[in-house]
């Protein structure tokens, strides 16, 4: 049997907050909901932990899309973390768009611990969007290309 390697498989980095989205991803797993294996989850204590450099580093190291998942606004384990993350990411995404980098490659979604189905649906949709965009060429580091 041969594996077809010509098809583009995006690499997606998902930053998930420990308290809501990571548990949501876990729930998606225990409920046997399908979502693409291209999504690599990185667990962070809070969505607010994600520094703009993390997002850019992910692109540097070969990610084609980066998604940040956190608790719904108002539900943050640390009360207000995701409100700060929301402002930061809005400005960062706007700046990436301003530099001409495809805005569909970055996203923020609020996924609670009970929303396994939403997690799977979001990831399916995001992987589809990024697959359509193709490889990340505008924000890649050629030295990191494999």
């Amino acid at each position: 049997m041969q594996v077809n390697n010509t098809e583009f498989k995006p690499k997606i980095v998902a930053f998930c907050c420990n308290w809501c989205s990571y548990a949501g991803a876990d729930l998606a797993g225990t409920n046997r909901l399908q979502y693409p294996a291209d999504v690599k989850i990185i667990r962070v204590p809070c969505s607010c932990r994600v520094n703009p450099i993390f997002i850019l580093r992910a692109f540097q190291r070969g990610a084609d899309g980066v998604i940040l998942c956190g608790c719904h606004p108002g539900d943050c384990h640390y009360t207000t973390g995701n409100y700060y993350a929301r402002r930061r990411m809005t400005l960062l995404f706007s700046m990436l768009d301003y530099l001409g980098i495809e805005k569909e490659r970055t996203r923020v979604e609020w996924v609670s611990a009970a929303e396994g189905a939403k997690f799977a649906a979001t990831m399916n949709e995001f992987v589809q969007t990024v697959t359509k965009l193709g490889r990340n060429r505008k924000l890649e580091d050629l030295r990191c290309r494999k």
């Binding site: 706007s94 301003y98 001409g100 580091d141 030295r143």
Partner: protein
């Protein structure tokens, strides 16, 4: 103006009110003026200058100088006074150890623009009522100041100081019709491909000299993220286009909400990269999304990135832009 400033600085040094003066010092040429610290009236008499080439913002030097014993006198142009107020607000400078002297400013000249007008051999400059008289080895030339102003002065937002202890000259007015965001709007209306081409053209010239970081009065971290070998982009020369993008996005992001738009980054860039366009994009976004905010104008309000409203826009607002 220069003589009034010299006289006042010498007086304050001699009567012991201040121990040192931060001002501008003449260089080898009239246009390469550098910021300098003066500690005696003799030094002031010898080297102190204030001409149309004194574009440098002196407020950042206070971070270091104001920690020394005694008071430090600093000369602030209107835009510099906002940077100063922001540094005081962030507790980087102790207000009590600074004697801030506000000086009037009608815009500063850019030597490259003067040269572009065909003026060569510059050996002196004077300004009167918006007209520059450039003394050259080939005789005097007069130019309207408005045509050869620094980028930051061409879109000056205010000629009124945010804070000072003493005022020399006349207090100016806010500039009502300044169009700071014109170029930003123009870029926003382009397609992503055009914007990408524009920024590649600009940022690929970056030589990572770090001048924009070092001059910025908002960049006062003792240890900068870019000095960390593990940041991924600590090298001096950018080895890949990614590093240029990363450096400039992060540099602008780290001063977002704190940038007073003093325009020093663009002034010092040896490669003439319009770095202020990145900062102004953040300022414009903050104004549009979180309400008008001018860093340094108000000592009490929280900067927009350390504050939030439960009703803030979702990041997805970025995707909906441009679709109408």
């Amino acid at each position: 103006m220069q003589e009034i400033m010299k006289k006042r600085a010498s007086e304050l040094l001699l009567d012991g009110t201040v121990s040192r003066v931060i001002g501008w010092k003449a260089g080898d040429f009239v246009y390469d003026i550098t910021p300098a610290v003066f500690e005696s009236a003799e030094e002031i008499e010898k080297d102190f200058v204030y001409t149309a080439f004194c574009g440098a913002n002196l407020s950042k030097y206070l971070v270091k100088e104001s920690k020394k014993p005694g008071k430090t006198l600093v000369f602030l142009k209107p835009c510099d006074s906002y940077s100063f107020a922001q540094l005081v607000k962030e507790h980087r400078v102790n207000r009590d150890s600074v004697y801030a002297v506000a000086v009037e400013c009608r815009g500063k000249a850019d030597v490259d623009k003067i040269r572009d007008c065909g003026v060569k051999g510059i050996c002196g400059i004077s300004e009167e009522n918006g007209t520059l008289t450039v003394d050259t080895v080939y005789g005097d030339k007069t130019l309207p100041l408005s045509e050869v102003m620094l980028e930051k002065c061409a879109s000056c937002k205010t000629r009124k100081h945010a804070v000072y202890d003493e005022l020399l000259g006349e207090e100016g007015e806010e500039v009502a019709d300044c169009d700071r965001f014109g170029k930003v709007r123009e870029l926003e209306s382009m397609t992503p491909e055009e914007r990408y081409e524009f920024w590649r053209g600009e940022l690929s010239r970056c030589i990572r000299c770090n001048a924009c970081r070092n001059v910025c009065p908002a960049c006062t971290c003792e240890k900068c993220v870019f000095d960390n070998d593990n940041s991924g982009i600590a090298q001096k020369a950018a080895a890949d286009s990614f590093e240029e993008n990363m450096f400039h996005i992060i540099r602008a992001f780290h001063v977002a909400g704190r940038c007073t738009d003093c325009g020093e980054c663009t002034r010092v860039c040896p490669q003439k990269i319009p770095l202020h366009l990145l900062n102004r994009k953040f300022i414009k976004d903050i104004n549009e999304l979180y309400g008008d905010y001018q860093a340094g104008a108000d000592p009490d309000t929280r900067p927009p990135l350390t504050d939030f409203r439960t009703t803030d826009a979702e990041p997805s607002i970025v995707y909906r832009r441009g679709e109408k």
